[in-house]
């Protein structure tokens, strides 16, 4: 081992330890920022050390990439609104996937034919997973951003075709391992990866995005691991494994919070079971209590305890600041205010927490499902801000419901429920929500932010 190689190896070891400490810092909000600095130092050490690598002979392309990448990275992170965080994460998974995929192709073109079998297999997986993550994340981004329909896009035989594509790529990797000179087959692996990313994510509905984003996160990690095996780089293996296990753990938590298996999310095409107008589709003729903001304000004035339940609708209408303003006004009146956060509320894990933190809501007022569910029965008023499935009592009572078994908030047990919703339209999940028709529920229809601000006005009027 040359002295440089030793320095490089030790630098990577330090970086790996710093990465683990960085993630450990995230076990609490007080230690998280300090932890993040350790991660940044680790990354700096790893990058600077790599520039000493003996295989690096020219620096001009590196300089271009670092400069352009840093500029774009700084620009995105400085300007993106917190409501767009799921889109940002999806996009960055696609960048990560593309980077690993391209490195795989480059490595194969450079020395593919002289590599041992095990490294060739790793290279194949790296390219396949990287490019799959790339196109899959672009699809997820499109669905979140709305230029691809958020509804599941399905076609006949899609599951069979997708599984077929997966096995085709395994076979192609097998062929390349035995015949490293078969370049066409290697490019076939890349093509199948690109195609499968598209066809595997299109059938998954927008509301399932928390699971999809977490899974893509873990694929990106696995692709980085495969790169590590191909280059025999332990820092890549360790970092990829950290990323992969984080994605896997999050997708398991998200699936559990929807009471669905991975297989069901990936192959179930949730939301297509109910054709509009078919039997069992929502019947809008049912009676519900539509309330004005004056009525809603009167309910809040008469309440001693209020729980807010935010959902994706809060992000869509950017209502987090209005929620906080209303909550602050209530607290000034001596009302006990809490927030109930469901693990799958929004479009990515922790989405609601970040938005409320942005609106300056202290985090000890945010409660998980298990910590708050018994409180609803003792609460005067619940304000549901753009949440739907997570407050649907059918999940507890109706075995025929597609969301049966999903853990939900017991909002219907509180004295009155104010549901802020754009319209009575059930949305693309098409699941009817009997909460909206319950006698103690008042539907306040309209844009959530405007409604909240109008309710705030009502509350302030009463103060005089």
């Amino acid at each position: 081992m040359t002295p440089t190689a030793v320095v490089l190896g030790l630098a990577y070891l330090v970086a790996a330890v710093l990465f683990i400490l960085c993630l450990r810092g995230l076990s609490g909000p007080q230690t998280a920022r300090r932890g993040l600095v350790l991660g940044e130092v680790g990354m700096l050490i790893a990058v600077v050390a790599t520039l000493l690598h003996r295989e690096i002979v020219t620096y001009e392309w590196i300089a271009v990439g670092l400069l352009v990448g840093s500029t774009i990275g700084i620009a995105i992170s400085a300007t993106i609104p917190m409501t767009k965080m799921p889109e940002r994460i999806a996009l960055s998974h696609s960048f990560g996937g593309l980077a690993t995929g391209l490195v795989g192709v480059a490595e194969y073109m450079r020395e593919g034919e002289s590599l041992p079998m095990f490294k060739l297999a790793a290279l194949g997986f790296e390219t396949f997973l990287g490019l799959l993550t790339f196109t899959g994340s672009i699809m997820a981004f499109g669905k979140l951003q709305g230029f691809i329909s958020g509804a599941p896009i399905t076609w006949k035989g899609q599951n069979v075709a997708n599984i077929g594509l997966f096995f085709a790529s395994l076979a192609a990797i097998g062929i390349v391992v035995v015949h490293p000179e078969a370049r066409v087959v290697f490019f076939l692996i890349a093509a199948v990866g690109l195609a499968l990313g598209v066809t595997a994510v299109l059938p998954i509905g927008g509301a399932d995005m928390p699971v999809v984003i977490s899974l893509l996160n873990s694929y990106a990690g696995l692709a980085a691991c495969a790169t590590g095996f191909a280059l025999s780089s332990q820092i890549l293996i360790i970092s990829g494994a950290l990323d992969g296990s984080s994605g896997l753990l999050l997708s398991m938590l998200m699936s559990k919070a929807m009471n669905r298996s991975f297989a069901n999310v990936l192959f179930g095409a949730f939301g297509t079971a109910l054709e509009p107008g078919a039997a069992g589709a929502p019947q809008l003729a049912k009676a519900y209590n539509e309330a004005t903001v004056e009525d809603a304000g009167a309910v809040l004035k008469a309440s001693q305890s209020v729980i807010f339940v935010p959902g994706y609708g809060m992000a869509v209408s950017q209502a987090q600041h209005a929620v906080r303003d209303l909550a602050t006004a209530l607290e000034r009146r001596g009302v006990d205010v809490k927030y109930a956060i469901h693990p799958v509320a929004g479009r990515m894990p922790g989405h609601m927490n970040v938005l409320l933190a942005e609106a300056n809501v202290p985090y000890d007022k945010l409660f998980d499902l298990d910590d708050i569910n018994d409180d609803f029965a003792r609460t005067d008023a619940v304000v549901v801000v753009g949440a739907n499935d997570v407050v649907n009592p059918a999940a507890k009572k109706d075995p025929a419901s597609p969301i049966y078994g999903m853990p939900v908030f017991n909002v219907e047990q509180s004295r009155s429920v104010l549901v802020l919703k754009r319209s009575m339209n059930p949305g693309f999940s098409g699941v009817e929500n009997e909460l909206f028709f319950a006698p103690n529920t008042m539907m306040v229809l309209g844009d959530a932010k405007k409604t909240l601000l109008a309710m705030l006005g009502e509350l302030k009027e009463g103060a005089h």
Binding site: L23, R24, S27, P29, A32, L36, G39, M43, V47, H53, I56, V57, T58, W61, V64, G65, V68, G69, I72, I74, I76, S77, A78, S92, H93, F95, G96, L98, A99, T100, V103, V105, A106, E107, A220, G228, F229, L231, I235, L236, G240, A241, L242, D243, S245, S246, G247, L249, L250, L253, I341, M348, P349, H351, N353, V354, A357, N360, Y363, L366
Partner: protein, 106 residues
């Protein structure tokens, strides 16, 4: 070296185990910063991209340059945005913002 892959497999399995242990302690509150932070860390593929971009091979340089750009976006953007998010998590309302609100009322 025939034992190399076995050694790397050890590293992979142990790192996955450590990752699982550490990450299962992250509260739901911080799941978005977790995702964006691990995203920045997985930008470590930058290391491999640097080697591709700095090699002799012409095509490898080109692909490597694109890869370096993508990975750098994730590293730089990922750390910055995670920090931006973490700065917002507070136990007490921010006095600056609160003062502004009360000032507006009076």
């Amino acid at each position: 070296m025939s034992g190399e892959w076995l050694f790397n497999l050890y590293v992979f399995v142990l790192a996955t185990f450590v990752g699982y242990q550490v990450i299962s302690r992250v509260p739901a509150l911080l799941h978005t910063p977790l995702m964006s932070g691990t995203n920045a860390i997985s930008g470590i593929s930058l290391v491999a991209s640097l080697i591709a971009a700095g090699s002799h091979h012409r095509l490898s340089q080109l692909l490597g340059c694109v890869a370096v750009t993508c990975a750098t976006i994730n590293v730089v953007g990922g750390f910055l945005i995670t920090d931006r998010m973490l700065r917002m998590f507070r136990r007490k309302p921010d006095p600056a913002v609160k003062g502004k609100l009360e000032g507006g009322k009076g």
